[in-house]
Each structure stands twice: as structure tokens, then as C-alpha cells.
């Protein structure tokens, strides 16, 4: 039922455990709504990119700039990390704390590799003189892809904090909720990357 309230449940049980469960459900739902807002945020950046991507102002075009092998490798790394974060949740649901932490570590290492490759890609472009200030195309490119990269970076730090909490407290309703939420976040970033890959890189070089 959409409208059962958390205190009604906790009052019915007389003590707090049920209340905690419900608070966890609220937070997961809240996070879904946060993801909606993040969707709009990326949609706005994509729209900006779509409007400005041909305004190269004498600077390089997408075709001249993008080196696809590295991008494809990045893509596979991120997709794999999404899969391993799924494996982490499966371990958690089995109550396997070791497996959970192990898969989270694999996920964040893959995430770090992705960010590392992206930073290298950006650094190469900039060392060749293709900066944000070169053209509207590059402004919108760096901002869109960089915003995604910042999200992944944030996710990595978040995951580290979560691993520490898991190792201290084990799997309980609170840590379970936190793992569920970060895995939602991670899958979401994966989905956004698919759009980045398609719209920015694939359509850029085609």
C-alpha cells in the first residue's frame, strides 16, 4: 500500500525495529527521486551539448579529437563495474559479508581505472591545446563528460566509506540500505555513460 505510515507500523509492533525498516524504504524511494533530478541535470547538459557541438570556432571537431579504442576500453570497464556491483548486492542478499566487500572493492577499482583513463584522455587533449576555452563544442564536451566523471569519483569515495562501515558493522538493515542505494547510483551512472558513449563519442566520430 502506498499509504501506510512508518509510525503506524512501529506503534503496532510496540518497538522500533519495524520503524527502521520503513525508514530504509523511505530513503530508497527518496533516492529514486534524487536520481530523477540527476537525470534532468544530465539531460540539460546533453541538450547543451546537442546545441553547441558543431560550434567548433576553428578548433578541432569531434571526429579529429576522439580516439575510440581508449573510449571503448573505458566503456567496457564501466559496464563490467556495474556487473560487479550487482554481484556485490547478490552476495549481500546471501549474507556473505566477505563476498560483498570483495565485489565492492573490485567495483571501485574498476571505477578508479575508468576515471584514470578519462583523466588521461582529458590531459592529452589539453596538452595538445584543446581546452575548455577553445570552443563552445569543447566547453560543452568537457562539462558533460567531466560531470559524469565527477559523479563516478564521488561514488568511489562513497564506496570506500561504505566498505569501512561494512567491515565495522557487518550487514544490517542500515548498511543493506546503503549498499542498495549506492548500487542504484552506480547502475545509473552506467546508463548515463551509455548515452555519453552513443551521443558524444559514437555520433561524434561517425
Amino acid at each position: 500500500m502506498a499509504n501506510h505510515s512508518n509510525h503506524a507500523v512501529s506503534a503496532a509492533h510496540g518497538h522500533g525495529h519495524e520503524g527502521h525498516h520503513d525508514q530504509d524504504a523511505l530513503r530508497q524511494m527518496g533516492f529514486w527521486f534524487f536520481l530523477i533530478t540527476d537525470c534532468i541535470l544530465f539531460a540539460t547538459l546533453f541538450a547543451t551539448y546537442a546545441v553547441l557541438h558543431n560550434n567548433t570556432a576553428g578548433g578541432p571537431t569531434a571526429k579529429e579529437l576522439f580516439e575510440m579504442p581508449g573510449i571503448i576500453a573505458e566503456t567496457f570497464i564501466l559496464l563490467t563495474s556495474s556487473f560487479t556491483s550487482g554481484l556485490a548486492v547478490l552476495s549481500m542478499n546471501r549474507g556473505d559479508k566477505k563476498g560483498l566487500i570483495g565485489w565492492l572493492i573490485v567495483t571501485l577499482v574498476l571505477g578508479a581505472a575508468f576515471v584514470g583513463m578519462e583523466v588521461t584522455e582529458f590531459a592529452n587533449m589539453m596538452s595538445e591545446g584543446h581546452k575548455m576555452s577553445t570552443s563552445a563544442f569543447l566547453s560543452s564536451f568537457f562539462t558533460l563528460v567531466g560531470t559524469h566523471g565527477c559523479h563516478v569519483t564521488l561514488g568511489i569515495f562513497w564506496m570506500i566509506a561504505l566498505i569501512i562501515q561494512l567491515s565495522r558493522r557487518g550487514i544490517n538493515s542500515t548498511t543493506k540500505r546503503k549498499v542498495n542505494i549506492i548500487s542504484m547510483y552506480w547502475h545509473f551512472l552506467d546508463a548515463v555513460w551509455i548515452f555519453v558513449f552513443t551521443i558524444v563519442y559514437m555520433m561524434g566520430v561517425m
Binding site: 524504504a25 530513503r27 524511494m29 575548455m132 563552445a136 562539462t143 562501515q165
Partner: protein, 658 residues
Amino acid sequence: MWDKIKDFSSDFFVTGDPMIYGADVAIVLVSVAILFVLTYFKKWGWLWREWLTTVDHKKIGIMYILASLLMLFRGGMDALLMRAQLAAPDLEFLKPEHYNEIFTTHGVIMILFMAMPLMFGLFNIAVPLQIGARDVAFPVLNSVSFWLFFAGAMLFNLSFVIGGSPNGGWLAYPPLTEKMFSPGVGQDFYIWGIQISGIGSLATGINFIITILKMRAPGMKLMKMPMFSWSVLASCLTIILAFPILTVTLALLFIDRFAGAHFFTLDGGGNPMMYINLIWMWGHPEVYIVILPAFGIFSEVVATFSKKRLFGYKSMVFALMSISIVSFFTWAHHFFTMGSGADVNVFFAISTMIIAIPTGVKVFNWILTMYKGKITFKQPMLWTMGFIPCFVVGGMTGVLLSIAPADFQFHNSYFLIAHFHQVLIGGVVFGYFAGLYYWWPKMFGFSLDEKLGRWVFWLWNIGFYVCFMPQYLVGLMGMTRRYSTYGWDTGWFGLNLTSTIGAFLMGAGFLVQVWQILYSIKNMQKLKDTTGDPWDGRTLEWTIQSPAPFYNFATDPVVSETDDFWEEKQRIAAGGKPRPKPALAPIHMPKNSGMPVVMAGFFFFAGFGFVFDWMWMAIPGLIGVAASMLVHSFRYDTDFYIPVDEVRRTELAAGREV
């Protein structure tokens, strides 16, 4: 060394204007006075425990309302300064640059730092009580929202004395606001002030959606929910879809200014029109975000003071929701003159006309609710009665503006200024005042003096018409907005002078209002609300004592129909037995948290650093923000239980049966 300090401070502080020196002195004196009072009366601990760290939605609501009234004062002063400058032709009361700053800060403050927080304040006060919840879904996040708003508002206001105010208009259109044309820090104060408080608004949107969807009392189906809560839901859905666009737009403008990017510049392939589209994709929904809750308040007030069920409940819900959707498809009517072509303009003209329909439906609903009702003209009802004709006229002039070919004449004239002030003052401000008078007893346990309230009402109302009706005319005569002065040959003198007189009447209204609040505090005992139900109300917030205890409801309320409390009272009056009260149980409550205020402090710090390009300040600020979140994440001991004894004691002390 000394010269360097002098150089720095003459840039850093705003100098050269006696009014600003006056403000400097006032700010220093007030700050010293506050510090002294807090220290002398040993109130620091009290302030920290009871207010700064509170997660109680009612206290957060009160802080929002207090801050918004302060902002109303500042925004109002800006308005009066502008009207003084325009009172007669060729006045040199304000220099043109100063005038530009004032119309910019007036607009930003009134919409983002007055209307929004007043609205959030009323959300916080009323929604959890109306739906029978103990708090909002995420109490700590709620506190984060407030403190981010507060940090953003303070950062923005600081520009008045430090660095210089923004002067590019309330929506800061580029290329004017790009570094090339606005090299000062004012524009950066604008960006960061709004950005920081905008994050808070977004979080409030999510918070109240979840609260309303998941925390209603058992039995309160969505279609039995009080109309104010419906309007909050509609408004919050609009917030979460619109505010991310604002975040991105301001971020892009900042990247342009900070990193030399070319989103909206004239060179490098930038496109300033992109900004204008983006900002209005947020900006137009934004005006509906602030007006929808006012519609909700009027619906509650009209039903309560007519002693009738709201006419057309379902059509009202449908109207609210359809407005929140259609509001996303009207943005281009703000720039019909941009040259997007006839096809685009036709689409936006028609969508704008369509959005007037659900609004019209609501007006009929309110009128038909009053029809054959037993109306009492207490203050909330008075404001509602003032609102209806005002908003109808304001809405009609909006439809006139929506006709794209005609808009080429009206565009950016005083006709437009008069239109949006009529819907924003006549709609939003009157609405929130109605809400403030309506829920005041629930917040503080006493109501506001009726007699002074009538003075307030008439001063504001008469002042409004005297101020803005002439502006329609002077707009049709060709006066455009943002003129800092005009000549004798224009023939606009009489109308402008009248308009200025009206503005000062509204200013007098505000002063009487402050007096009314002080007077009512002094006579609190006489105005005390002992029943908890001063207006013979219809919804759950009136079932509990005033002021509401911090746990809201001693036992969980159960609801079976719309306006459940009213129906229950009718049933008991007809000889029915009251519903049996469930036994008291320990109440589960969230603990206070210092994280929100600390995090907002770091945000302020970071924002200030970004304004001046001081990375040594911005980066530690951002690290502080992240650290506050991490510390919070590691805290597991976040809630507690109020024992039954304490609940019983509190209820008995308020004269309630348990």
C-alpha cells in the same frame, strides 16, 4: 604593506556611497548586539540545542518564515528606493549603476529569498501536521535544506557591502553577465548565492514528495488529502523537475566566467540564447512552484471560513497537477521577440493560454465554495477575498501578454511589470500572508490581532492597486522596465508619482504588520488559542493543541474521509460517540544534528572563495562539505524514543485528555 591593505580593502569593501556606509554601521552594530545578548544571557547553548541543530519541522518552518520576513524587508527597501528614484522625472537620487544593482537584488531576493523560504516555511509548518505525520521523511535533510538556503541568502546579501552587488537583472542574461562585460564579483555572488540555496530547495522538493506519498495517516487516501498538501505535492514535483536545470544553467555561466569557457559568450561559438532558454525552462515552472501552494492555502481557507466542503475537490486536484505539467511547456513566452519564428511562438502562445484554464477552474471552485456558505471574515479569509479579484485581473493581463504578436508591443514594458507583480503580490504574497495568519496560532499558540490586521490588509490592498494600476498605463505609453530615469517630455510623471505613493502605502502596510506581530506578542495571553482549533478547522492540524507539541500527535491519527476532523465534529455534535483514543505508546523521534549547520557553513565558505577566485578558501570549504557528509554517514545513533510518561505529562499540561 599598509598601502596594499588599503588597496585591497577599497576593492573588497563597497565604498563611496553614504547609504552603504550606513548599512555597514547597521550590520556591525546589529551583529555586536546579537553576540552581546547571546553571551550576556548565556543563550549560546540554548541557540545551538533548540534552533541551530533542530530537526523539528515546526522550528525549521519558523526559521524559514523569520528569515523570509527579513528578506521581505530588504527586498521591499529595494523596491521603495526604486520607486523613490522614479517618483519624478530627471531625479538623481540613485545613480544608474546603483539603480541596476537595486532592481537586480530586488528581483532575486523577492523570488528566491523571500517567496521560496516563506513557502518552505509554510510547507514545514503545515504539511506533516495536515497529513498526520510526526515529522518529514528526512528530518536531517530538511535541516540541511534550511541552512543551505540561509547560507545562500547570506552570501547573496553580503554583496551589498563586500565586493559589490550583481547588476545584470534578476535572471542575469549573458553576454552582459559574462566576464567581458561584468568583470566584478557581483555576478559571482549571484551565482553562488542562488546555487547554494538551490541545492537546498531541490532537497526540500524530494523530502516533501516522499513525506506526502509515504507518511500520510492510515486511511488518508491521496484523494482524501487536504488540498494544501496536494498543492505542495504539485509544487514539489515541479521543483524536482525544474531546479536541476537552474543548477546546470548557473554552473555553465560560472564555468564561462571562471574557466573562460564559451557556453554563452559572443565569441568561441557560444550561444547566449541557450542561456535564456535554459533559465526560463526553470524560471517559468518556478513561478508556478511559488503560486501552487498559495492556491492550496486559499482552498483550505475558503473551505474553513465558509464552513463548507471545498467545491470541486477532484477538479482542483486535476487543475493543480495539470498546471505543474503544462508549466514546463510555456517558457518561450518570455522571449517571443527572440525571433524563433512564428511556429515556435504559436506553440508557446497556445500553451500559455491553455494554462490559464485550470487556473480559471480554481477561481470558480473558490467562488462556488463560498456560495451559500456561512462566511466569517477573519484575516486569512480577508486576504483570500483580496486575492481573487486581484489574481483574476493579473491572470487576464497574462493572457493578453501571451498573444505573441501583441507581445511585441508589451514586451519588457511596465505593462509586463504590472502583470507579474499583480500575480506575484496578489497571488503569492497575499496567499502566504493568508497562510501565515491561518497557521500562526498553530505555530505560536496565539493568533495575531484582528484590528491591526485589518489595517495591514487595507494598506497592502489599496497600496497595491495605487502602485500597479498606473504601471499598466505607463507601460502602454511606452515606458520600458529598468529605466533609471525619464524626462519631463514623456508625460509619465503623474502615473509614476501615483505608483510611488502606492508603493509607500504597501511599505506602511509592512510596518503595521511588524507592529501587529509585536503587539500580539505583548498581548499573547489575550490572544491565546486554548482550544487548538481557533478557526473551527477541518483538517488534522487542528486536532492537536497550539502550539503543536514537538512530537505532533500523542497517538497516531486515523482518518476515514476528506476533512475528517470537521466530519468528526459534526458527528459528535449530532450525538455520535467520539472515536476511541488508542493507548499512548513510546514515540520514535529523530535526534538533533549539528551536521546541517556546519555543512552549510562550509558551503558558505566555499562559495565565498569561488566568488573571489580564492582557491585556498574554496577548496577547504568543499572538503569541509564532503567531510560533514562523511561524518554524518558514520553516525548510526540517530533516533530515540519519547517515553509514555513524558507524552502524558506534556498532553496533560496542555489540558488534553489522554
